[in-house]
């Protein structure tokens, strides 16, 4: 297909784009041609297309209004995939920001079946039902209609555009950066600030959201600086900055968030403007900048005028029209009207005139207009109507005329094909406000201005309310420690003046939009005030004014003024809403950056992981670790594999990778004293070479962690913790050591990863490992249960424990981690012929449950004391103090009725209850039943050929033998309460 027209609105004499560099793209499937450097908006306007979208609530036809990020109406869907797979689809892209590239597919939103004919526009007829606060009124009744009618309707209506359906294939980068001065905004103010700072050899980052630096200077054809045009001054200054190695210039980069201590978030759009980006480039790059000083040079945003039907396509902001003309070489129409309340629109009109556009009329709201402007208009033969207002327009998909109420009160219709408007300029306080600075009301200029920020930042130029270039330059130089430059500036147009609120009484009756993106009219604001919303915070939420993704960049001041006038209060008393990050919509991808897929979180693996993988293990995540869960043989399901593993351990032996267990080396002359303080049990009597099970409480007396501790010498303990608890236990210990017991001479070192830990458990455990061990006698007599010895295993230094978490004869071999796999294989070489198996965490869980060993975090939940868990034997009575001792004496922890850990056996031995299931005494009682406890662990025990469970139960220890009930959805399961040790209660095997 070939483009249907040849850019009829392109002004050959204007703009900075190269007319030889054409770019082809489609909008709603129709091919168009633009120029390299065009935004989608400027390219469509060059083709005479104003209609670009449908509004959110009423589906009103909308054109583009602005040439910047404030654009509320022309929100477009962009598909970056050739295949249209749905992965690189982005909704709500602002046509005024998106640069075109060859092959770009853009689609309009919120219309069906087409932009010109949209069935959803019927909403306009239903407008009375969508008045302010309609969420709170219309849908309250009848109740039943909420689920079936209202909610689905609201959900369908909520949000604009289509979300992507596939995983985002693009890469997003992140960079932390530091600098002396961060300058946000590369217009006249920002460039001058950078120039001054650069002269002082400071490290500077200057960012600007546009593709080129220069800001409004690029759109100003008249101003001269020391005889140079504005664009030439920009060019020279940028070249100077580029040559300076201390300066980093970032274009297409938005300062979107101002955080604590001068941390500012910038997002750089790297490839969105490229037709065929290098695959090695990230789509976007997040810069997290910590700056000694931040210079905010965000500029000002032009406001629209509030009159009836002010949203019709063809009505644009005057500054935008000037920018499109002088930067892009595009005229917004052939016969343009002007409606203004300030001087800058005159400059736009005069520029358009020079480009050959007929200016039908300048309607000025002000009674008095600057004489020089009137004379200039007169010279060009442009009609000016002071003290007049536009009260309506004709044309729906594109305006074709304006209705003007003249100074004398008569009405006149004037033919136009576009209308440029300006209500004046709003200083952009977004980042200043985000820095926690309070906006200050300036009564004279009817604007909020920045004051003193609590952070090291300063606002300069138009965002500081400065209206002219000379003062802006002086402010900029001063902000970075320089002197006001002596520059001769001519033909500068002041940003002063303007109006806020309703521009004509037409806004009282017609649809006069205040907020375009959320379809909020002047009438809506008035209604909200009438219905009792007297603070702008309430008005905002009731009407949704300023709550769209543009954060009310155009609408806030108008909304505030309308509310203030109605309430007859000064503006600051009605308030100004706080600005929050992000300044403009920011992709999730840029926040996520690298943290996706395998880089979302570290996936920790043991030195034996790969062996388990090669031997068919299934894995389960335990905190950040991947642990071997069970080792199914061909044809086995999990249940069968675990059954076999359990039986094998009990009858022969099993080998288990326990490397993830937390390990802390406690060293120093006060090591034993420290252990006494941190653990509930006593450590004084423990001899070197012996090990002990320890419980650790928090100050409140609840179980925090547990584990076996080996005493290597009088000054050295090898402490083990739960897998998930390792980091917090170390912190907990270090915390007490540093804050409560700083006089103790003892030090803590995490050794979790120094050691690979291999558990060999079962009747044949000793026979399997014996030949591999040197330097220690591990016979039953010399090396009883709960022993530890430093020796060699397979010739490498080892810490060998005789301990058991299975109830069988067991050893845990710790070797330096690099040797883990080789030692495991050496053990496996002996274990396999002996009929042993490798087992995983599931079998470990079953075996320990058969013995009634608890797992902290499964059988305890932060409200279980050692006494509740049946571990009173591990709480020393004679110790003067330990962490949790006083907590355990609290009346509620000693009162009766506490939930205590017990064993449960189902009456039907085949029935395995669900973990977490609630327990009741009487299943016949009325619902809601009184729940007296819940199941914490539940397994099928192959060894016992029945189900076993543990539970916490009110007064559980006193309920031995009682029959209780577990009501489930479809049945009631009968259980009997008993002790937690189901297997080998006498402990014969463990001591074998």
């Amino acid at each position: 297909m070939t483009p249907s027209s040849k850019q009829p609105y392109r002004a050959k004499s204007h703009g900075a784009l190269n007319h030889a560099r054409t770019v082809r793209f489609t909008f709603d499937g129709k091919p168009y041609e633009g120029l390299e450097g065009d935004t989608l908006a400027s390219a469509l306007l060059a083709n005479g297309v104003h209609l670009m979208g449908r509004s959110f609530k009423y589906h009103r036809p909308r054109g583009v209004m602005s040439a910047g990020v404030e654009e509320p109406s022309a929100l477009i869907g962009i598909s970056r995939d050739k295949s249209n797979s749905g992965a690189r689809v982005q909704p709500n892209v602002r046509a005024s920001v998106q640069e075109i590239y060859d092959g770009m597919n853009a689609v309009s939103q919120n219309r069906f079946p087409s932009l010109n004919f949209d069935l959803g526009a019927v909403n306009s007829l239903l407008a009375p039902f969508f008045a302010a606060g309609f969420y709170y009124k219309t849908f309250m009744w009848p109740r039943k209609a909420w689920d079936k009618v209202y909610e689905p309707f609201i959900r369908r209506a909520a949000g604009l555009g289509e979300s992507p359906t596939e995983t985002d294939p693009d890469r997003y980068a992140n960079r932390f950066e530091h600098c002396d001065v961060l300058i946000i905004g590369g217009g006249a103010a920002g460039l001058m600030a950078a120039k001054t700072a650069a002269a002082k050899k400071q490290r500077i980052i200057l960012c600007d959201e546009n593709p080129s630096l220069g800001g409004w200077l690029l759109a100003d054809s008249d101003v001269t600086i020391d005889g140079k045009s504005g664009t030439q001054w920009v060019k020279d200054t940028v070249a100077e900055l580029q040559a300076n190695e201390n300066v980093r210039l970032l274009t297409r980069t938005t300062g979107f968030g101002y955080f604590q201590q001068n941390m500012v978030g910038l997002v750089e759009r790297v490839t969105d403007h490229l037709a065929q980006p290098d695959m090695d480039l990230p789509r976007e790059r997040m810069w997290q900048v910590r700056a000694d000083k931040v210079v905010i040079a965000q500029g000002a945003i032009e406001r629209h005028l509030v009159f009836a039907d002010n949203d019709r396509p063809g009505i644009v902001l005057a500054g935008a029209a000037q920018k499109w003309l002088n930067q892009f070489g595009v005229t917004v129409g052939n016969n343009v009207g002007v409606f203004t309340a300030c001087d800058t629109a005159y400059a736009a009109a005069f520029d358009l005139y020079e480009a050959g556009t007929h200016i039908a009329v300048i309607v000025d709201q002000r009674a008095t207009v600057d004489q020089a402007l009137l004379e200039q208009a007169n010279e060009l033969g442009i009609r000016v109507m002071p003290n007049a207002g536009v009260v309506g327009v004709t044309g729906k998909l594109r305006i074709n005329g304006i209705k003007v109420k003249t100074a004398s009160g008569s009405e006149e219709t004037i033919e136009v094909d576009a209308l440029i408007t300006s209500a004046g300029w709003t200083p952009s306080l977004h980042l200043y406000s985000q820095s926690r600075g309070k906006p200050i009301w300036d009564e004279a200029s009817q604007r909020f201005l920045p004051g003193q920020s609590p952070q090291a930042c300063v606002s300069i130029g138009a965002c500081n309310g400065t209206n002219d270039l000379a003062t802006t330059f002086a402010e900029a130089a001063k902000a970075t420690g320089g002197r006001a430059p002596k520059l001769e500036i001519e033909n500068d147009v002041s940003l002063a003046g303007g109006t806020i609120g309703m521009a004509s009484e037409s806004a009282e009756t017609g649809k006069a939009f205040v907020d375009f993106q959320n379809d909020v009219t002047a009438k809506d604001i008035k209604l909200a005030v009438r219905e009792g919303m007297h603070s702008i915070e309430h008005v905002k939420r009731y009407t949704t004014n300023g709550m769209a993704t543009d954060q009310g960049k155009l609408s806030n001041m108008h909304g505030l003024s309308i509310a203030a006038k109605m309430l007859d209060k000064p503006v600051p008393e009605v308030g100004l809403t706080t600005f929050r990050a992000p300044y403009t919509p920011t992709t999730f991808g840029s926040f996520v950056a690298h943290a996706r897929g395998t880089l979302f979180d570290p996936s920790r693996k043991t030195p034996i992981h790969e062996w388990a993988q090669e031997n068919g293990a299934e894995f389960e995540p335990v905190s950040l670790w991947q642990r071997a869960w069970y080792f199914p043989r061909p044809g086995e399901d999990m249940h069968e594999a675990v059954d076999r593993e359990c039986r094998t351990v009990r009858t022969s032996a099993g080998v288990f990778d326990a490397s993830t267990l937390g390990k802390i080396e406690v060293v120093g002359p006060d090591a034993a004293a420290f252990m006494n303080i941190m653990y509930t049990n006593g450590w004084d009597k423990l001899k070197p070479g012996r090990a002990k099970y320890g419980i650790m409480c928090r100050e409140d007396g609840f179980i925090y962690d547990d584990g076996v501790v080996g005493k290597l010498s009088d000054t050295r303990f090898h402490v083990t913790t739960t897998t998930g608890g390792a980091p917090r236990v170390l912190n907990h210990m270090e915390d007490y050591l540093q804050t409560e017991f700083p006089d103790m001479q003892v030090w803590l070192t995490s050794t979790t990863e120094q050691w690979a830990t291999i558990a060999v458990q079962g009747p044949k455990a000793r026979e399997i490992i014996q030949p591999l061990v040197t330097g220690a006698d591990i016979s039953a007599e010399k090396f009883p249960h709960m022993s530890v010895v430093e020796c060699q295993v397979c010739g490498v230094p080892a810490r060998l424990f005789r301990i058991s978490f299975t109830g069988e004869l067991g050893f845990e071999i710790n070797v330096p981690a690099d040797y883990g796999r080789a030692v495991w294989e050496a053990i496996w070489e002996r274990a396999e012929p002996a009929g042993a198996c490798a087992y995983g965490t599931e079998t470990m869980h079953v075996l320990r449950a058969e013995k009634g060993y608890i797992i902290v975090g499964q059988d305890t939940d932060g409200t279980v004391t050692p006494h509740d868990a049946g571990l009173s034997w591990a709480v020393a009575k004679s110790k003067p103090d330990f962490v949790g001792k006083r907590g355990l004496q609290r009346p509620d922890l000693t009162a009766s009725g506490r939930r205590q850990l017990v064993g449960l056996k189902t009456s039907d031995p085949k029935k395995v209850v669900q973990e977490g299931a609630q327990i009741v005494a009487d299943p016949e009682q009325a619902i809601p039943m009184k729940m007296i406890g819940f199941v914490t662990s539940s397994y099928w025990s192959g060894t016992l050929e029945r189900s076993i469970a543990m539970a916490v139960l009110e007064d559980g220890f006193a309920r031995m033998g009682e029959t209780l009930y577990i009501p489930m959805e479809d049945e009631v399961i009968e259980v009997e309460v008993e002790g937690t040790v189901f297997y080998d209660p006498s402990g014969e095997k463990i001591n074998g």
Binding site: P602, P607, S713, T751
Partner: protein, 184 residues
């Protein structure tokens, strides 16, 4: 001490190397390491076995003959010996004024080198790595993304990144992807 052992040693991310025009990332050779915690008297006592003085100021390092001492806290140092095997630096006799724990196998290291080294690290490390703020021979316990690391600038454009062994694949992959952006 291990004597001529047939037991095979497998270090994490062994032999890993990626490089582009501005940065290279490779796994450092196995080294012996000690986590040293000590009173000031203990530090003086330990120094005798080290043959050079431990650094006493925040972020300082000291080295001689392939041995490095990194200041991590007022009573904490990480000692790295690139030349000798496991636990070579652990004193044989207990001392009541310090704790020297062998962490040779707990840690591993990557060497990030080249003009884009700092930029590579700054993709996920929030420290200011300019030469002024983080000069040569400086160290810091910090983070790289979600992994804790000890960062040690051994030369103008060379950093040693120490991390715990199970974090090695994460650190490796993160550095590799970050290196793509290091020319900026």
């Amino acid at each position: 001490m291990v004597e001529a052992t047939p037991t095979k040693r497998i270090a994490p991310a062994e032999g890993f190397r990626v490089a582009n025009s501005v940065v290279s990332i490779e796994t450092a050779k196995p080294a012996s390491r000690i986590s040293l915690r000590a009173t000031s008297a203990g530090a003086r006592s330990f120094e005798k076995s080290l043959n050079f003085a431990l650094p006493r100021k925040p972020a300082e390092t000291a080295s001689a003959k392939g041995r490095h001492a990194l200041w991590l806290g007022p009573d904490e140092w990480l000692l790295i010996d690139e030349a000798n095997p496991d636990d070579s630096m652990v004193p044989r006799l207990p001392n009541k004024q310090f704790s020297a724990v062998d962490v040779s196998h707990r840690n591993m290291a990557f060497i990030v080198a080249g003009p884009g080294a700092a930029a590579t690290l700054n993709a996920a490390c929030p420290r200011n790595l300019s030469l002024a703020a983080f000069p040569v021979k400086t160290c810091s316990r910090t983070v790289l993304g979600k992994a804790e690391i000890v960062l040690y600038r051994t030369a103008r454009d060379t950093f040693r990144v120490e991390c715990w062994r199970s974090y090695a694949p994460y650190v490796r992959d993160l550095l590799a992807i970050a290196s793509k952006d290091a020319h900026i």
